[in-house]
């Protein structure tokens, strides 16, 4: 690709063909004023502020839409250009309030900046001004039409990046304004309140409420860090003034390219919730009372020590947290193993991706997304199965949507008509729990029609013959019987995935949270290997991780069978390495998983627990039993930022610092290790988890010396080959993607290029098995559970966010219109959903998003806790519970008189 020579402001500039004059100037360090142009968006050349003078051109040209030509001579600030710009600014000001003195945007307003730059004090075109009332119908941001300069950035953001098209220009001439279809409030439009429109608004027309009146840009400090919600690993800025959190805005991180979702953008005000724990609590006479750190730490250490000394190390259990940093997770598992002598350490990954870990370890020898998020842009086919990405991983969901609009084929397999299914080329709406049959069916077609990658199968994998034999039993007709997916549709989908390469598979809890979770994952690995979609750009097997640091918590060894870096505890060689480094003997038997710990506690075998940043009282299946288990413990210490349902049962509560108040690293779903930066002081006497764990360790007789998280990472790098080259100093703004074995290694965004960690990829045939509980006469429907966009996990953060909880205050159970009609249930009615384990009262949402016979209940709401209902039946390999399928029934409940639904 050659380059073109042009002259800008007398400078010789080289530009690539196809570049615009604007880009060429920018690369040469010449800034051209602009309002409608934005690097994330297409160019429309509408604002006329980027006009430049091009020699021999008839008129001034809009540089953002003028391609460079060889020999062009450009002036960006000639007198003629400056005159034109002044006119443009003056015209904009003719219809813009002169309220900079009180405008929230002052200081970062682009119109204000250019008015200053070109000395336009006021408009020279006085006249009528628009005066529409602002749209302040939603709790997140305000649209003030009077300030809008009609640059269209918000419109393009919504259409091009988010794929929502909630707003566009409407009306004509002077009356033109940006609004929704039929001019309804945003709340009634397809808007998902990602707020990315507000992030690109050059003026004060779109303003997050949280910022209004809290000081202007120059009074705030902006700290770049990582979002604490899902696993995408979005970079964001925390805006802080006088140690008070104001709000968040997107930062241009590698995962999110300057985009956020509603939770990251508007859901962080839990940081300043009055519910934050600010002092240690001790149980005295049945109640929790404030205590000193000394008392609390002593009590915690004593409780754990007593249980260990009296009943042995197996009587102690530790739950680490996917909300804690890598360094904290490392120390927490070290505390369990080295200080308490038990492998009973686990965290909520057990409840989300244990089956991914088990399955992909067997198939590849490594369990994480094989390809980076950015590869979505390179895929020709995207198969999304059991992942409601638009709601659970919104920034990835938006990117998948964008890839589809770009031309990639989109196949969505989901029992619900989730957002992505609405725009997919093919939606395979299979019955819950029939994933193996569906995936085997797709693989069957690949083999049957010769669409598989024979060279890849031959050269990179083993076990094909046996797999092919098992797949014979999954012809489309039989798969249709099992899954309910029409055979023709299955064949079409298989042909798309088989022929449009590279193709990437994305999956999440819809695959993993089954008694067949490991089998489901293996079936996915088989399909991807058959298509040769591994080790290449734009391909891959991509499990989307739910918690911001669930990948890191696994990496760091907060798992009962693995030491840090996925080194098995029962491998003497690996164990020996850690024993030498830590100077202790380590237990050789794998410990108990989360669900097994609860079982052991209920049986009275587990006596004491230390739970960090987890809330099993809402997150675990069959809550009735969890409560019973936790109450049976002799001793329970809980460390959290809120008094969660679990912390309320504790003997000692240790108040922790939030993500915004500490340092360390998080590892996102794409294996990217990123730096967390401290923006605030912890409230009251709360302390970073790392400090608390170190205090506890020293009271358990450990002489650990770490000068902060960076020193912990140093030790981790020495013991974890995949993190070998990682140090805080190297991470910068983009972080590093593991495996990164040495300090000069650039990281490995795409895995398995030459070989799999286990050598050849292993094709492991799996047979369809029914879910543990299927509908019967007594419980005739299927209940499935999951997330909604506006809330997160057990709600301890999102429900303490003003905007999120105002927008979605309560749970709704989704029920298909036909089922609703049969049961005489109308939208908004109170119903009772019951299973063999419990029942909840909740309002119904009648919608065909869910299939006939299938109920969907989000699990965020304590007052309608989905996990009172779910089945604790476990996957035999990964020990993950079957959250996604159980038999249930639903009936109209007495309609409350302004009352509220309480669980049970």
């Amino acid at each position: 690709m050659g380059s073109l020579k042009l002259q800008i402001n007398g400078l010789q500039v080289l530009a690539r063909p196809g570049a615009t004059v604007f880009q060429a100037a920018e690369e040469a360090g010449i800034a051209i004023p602009h309002l409608c142009h934005h690097p994330l968006l297409s160019d429309i050349g509408a604002c006329r502020l980027c006009l430049v003078e091009v020699k021999n051109a008839r008129t001034l040209l809009a540089s953002c839409v003028t391609p460079v030509q060889d020999g062009m001579v450009v002036e960006t600030e000639s007198p003629r250009v400056v005159r034109a710009r002044r006119t443009v600014i003056s015209l904009l000001l003719a219809n813009h309030p002169e309220d900079c003195l009180t405008c929230q945007k002052a200081g970062e307003c682009e119109l204000q900046r250019y008015a200053y730059q070109y000395g336009v004090e006021r408009t020279t075109y006085p006249g009528e001004r628009k005066d529409y009332p602002p749209d302040d119908s939603n709790p997140f941001f305000i649209r003030d039409h009077r300030k809008c300069i009609l640059c269209g950035r918000c419109i393009r953001m919504c259409a091009e990046r988010q794929g929502r098209s909630a707003v566009d220009f409407a009306f004509r001439g002077f009356a033109t304004r940006v609004t929704t279809a039929f001019d309804v409030p945003l709340e009634e439009s397809p808007c998902l309140f990602c707020g990315n429109c507000a992030a690109v608004c050059p003026v004060g027309a779109l303003m997050p409420r949280a910022f209004v009146g809290k000081g202007r840009a120059w009074e705030q400090t902006r700290v770049r860090t990582i979002c604490p919600y899902c696993g995408v690993g979005c970079s964001l800025y925390l805006h802080v003034r006088d140690n008070r959190f104001i709000g968040a805005s997107p930062a241009p991180g590698p995962a999110n390219e300057g985009l956020l979702c509603v939770k990251g953008r508007f859901g962080l005000d839990f940081l300043s919730s009055p519910d934050r724990l600010t002092q240690p609590l001790l149980r005295k006479d049945g109640g929790l009372v404030p205590a000193s750190w000394e008392e609390a730490l002593e009590a915690a250490a004593r409780g754990l020590k007593e249980a260990r000394d009296r009943h042995g190390p197996q009587a102690v259990g530790v739950l680490s947290s996917a909300k804690c940093t890598n360094e904290e997770n490392y120390l927490i598992q070290k505390l369990a193993r080295a200080a308490l002598g038990t492998n009973n350490v686990d965290h909520c990954a057990r409840l989300c991706h244990a089956s991914t870990l088990a399955g992909l370890m067997m198939a590849f020898g490594s369990a994480a997304m094989t390809n980076p998020i950015a590869d979505i842009d390179r895929s020709q086919a995207l198969l999304v199965i059991g992942s409601n990405a638009v709601e659970a991983h919104p920034v990835i969901g938006a990117r998948i949507g964008r890839a589809h609009r770009r031309g990639a084929a989109l196949l969505v397999a989901d029992p619900r008509r989730v957002e992505l299914a609405l725009c997919a080329d093919i939606h395979l709406q299979h019955r819950p729990g029939t994933d193996v049959a569906l995936l085997n069916g797709l693989a069957h077609v690949l083999v049957e029609e010769g669409l598989y990658d024979a060279a890849f199968v031959e050269g990179r994998t083993e076990g094909f013959a046996e797999l092919a034999r098992v797949l014979e039993a999954y012809p489309p007709r039989r798969v249709e019987e099992i899954t309910g997916v029409p055979a023709e549709l299955l064949v079409r989908a298989a042909r798309v995935y088989g022929t449009r390469r590279p193709g990437a598979i994305f999956f999440a809890m819809g695959i993993t949270q089954h008694t067949t979770g490991t089998d489901n994952v293996l079936a996915i690995a088989n399909l991807a290997m058959l298509a040769g979609n591994l080790g290449c750009d734009g391909g891959g097997v991509n499990p989307l991780r739910g918690q911001n640091n669930v990948q890191g918590a696994c990496d760091a060894g907060a798992l009962p069978a693995y030491l840090p870096g996925y080194q098995r505890v029962d491998d003497p060689e690996a164990r020996g390495r850690f024993e030498r480094a830590w100077g202790v003997r380590l237990p050789a038997e794998p410990g108990l998983t989360v669900v097994e710990m609860m079982e052991a506690a209920r049986r009275g075998e587990l006596k004491a627990m230390y739970i960090v940043g987890e809330n099993p009282m809402l997150s675990d299946p069959d809550l009735g039993h969890v409560e019973e288990a936790l109450k049976r413990l002799d001793f329970l210490a809980v460390q959290d930022i809120f008094l969660t349902e679990t912390a309320k049962l504790a003997d000692v509560v240790l108040p922790a610092a939030s993500f915004a108040e500490r340092e360390g690293t998080f590892t996102s779903t794409e294996r990217r290790i990123q730096l967390l930066r401290r923006a605030l002081q912890p409230p009251g006497r709360s302390r970073p988890d790392l400090e608390i764990v170190l205090e506890l360790a020293s009271r358990l007789g450990q002489g650990w010396q770490y000068r902060g998280p960076a020193a912990v990472m140093e030790e981790m790098a020495g013991l974890m080959p995949t993190y070998g080259g990682v140090s805080h100093g190297r991470l910068g703004e983009d972080g590093l993607v593991w495996p990164c074995p040495s300090p000069d290694h650039p990281g490995t965004p795409v895995l398995h290029r030459e070989r799999f960690p286990r050598g050849r990829g292993r094709l492991i045939p799996v047979e369809y098995r029914r879910p543990a509980e299927v509908p019967d006469a007594q419980y005739p429907m299927v209940l499935t559970t999951g997330r909604i966009l506006y809330h997160y996990h057990t709600g301890s953060m999102s429900r303490r966010s003003h905007g999120l909880s105002a927008h979605r205050p309560e749970a709704r159970v989704e029920i298909h219109p036909e089922d609703a009609a049969r049961l005489k249930v109308e939208d908004g009615d109170w119903v009772e959903v019951s299973t063999r384990r419990g029942r909840v009262r909740v309002r119904a949402e009648v919608t065909d998003r869910t299939a006939r016979g299938v109920l969907f209940l989000p699990f965020h709401f304590a007052e309608a806790a989905a996990n009172l209902l779910t089945n604790p039946a476990l996957d035999p390999v990964a020990r993950i519970p079957e959250f996604k399928v159980c038999a249930a029934r639903v009936a109209r409940a007495a309609q409350a008189e302004g009352g509220e639904g309480r669980a049970r």
Binding site: A166, D168, A170, F171, R172, T180, A181
Partner: protein, 171 residues
Amino acid sequence: MRGEPVEDSGKLGALLDRYRGQPGALIPLLQDIQREMGYLPRPALEEAARALGLPAVKVYGVATFYAQFHLKPRGRHVCRVCLGTACHVRGGERILSRVSADLGIAPGDTTPDRAFTLERVACLGACGLSPAMMVDDQTFGRLTPDKASRLLRRFAREAPDGGGGGGRTAE
């Protein structure tokens, strides 16, 4: 306008089928719908968006941009009173206020019985006949307020032409 049923959805379906999957055909489709239904009801616009594969807001944007499209029901007769230069000079304003008073509506509105829609226009190109007005596709000139009133009464007596709307827009 919200929630108003789509009148005669069979005919609408046929119109949609003609352009289904062709986002570029938005304007012809809107013209067809308006010809059929007299205006562009919200449900019809939503259906149009789905049929063409366009966001509803794009359809709304186009429908509100062009003066030829009407999002409110139109009367069976459209009465356009000219206030162009010539008509203005020769008392168009008096014609408009009489017509407005007779119909009991302001310019831009439609009578509750949907008999008439009243519009003020800049010039009908009939300056030689000023003051002038059009009712549907007929032009009437050299008006006095009384003449205008008589004309309205005449049109009001006429039977509505065809069932579902049918108010013709003379372009």
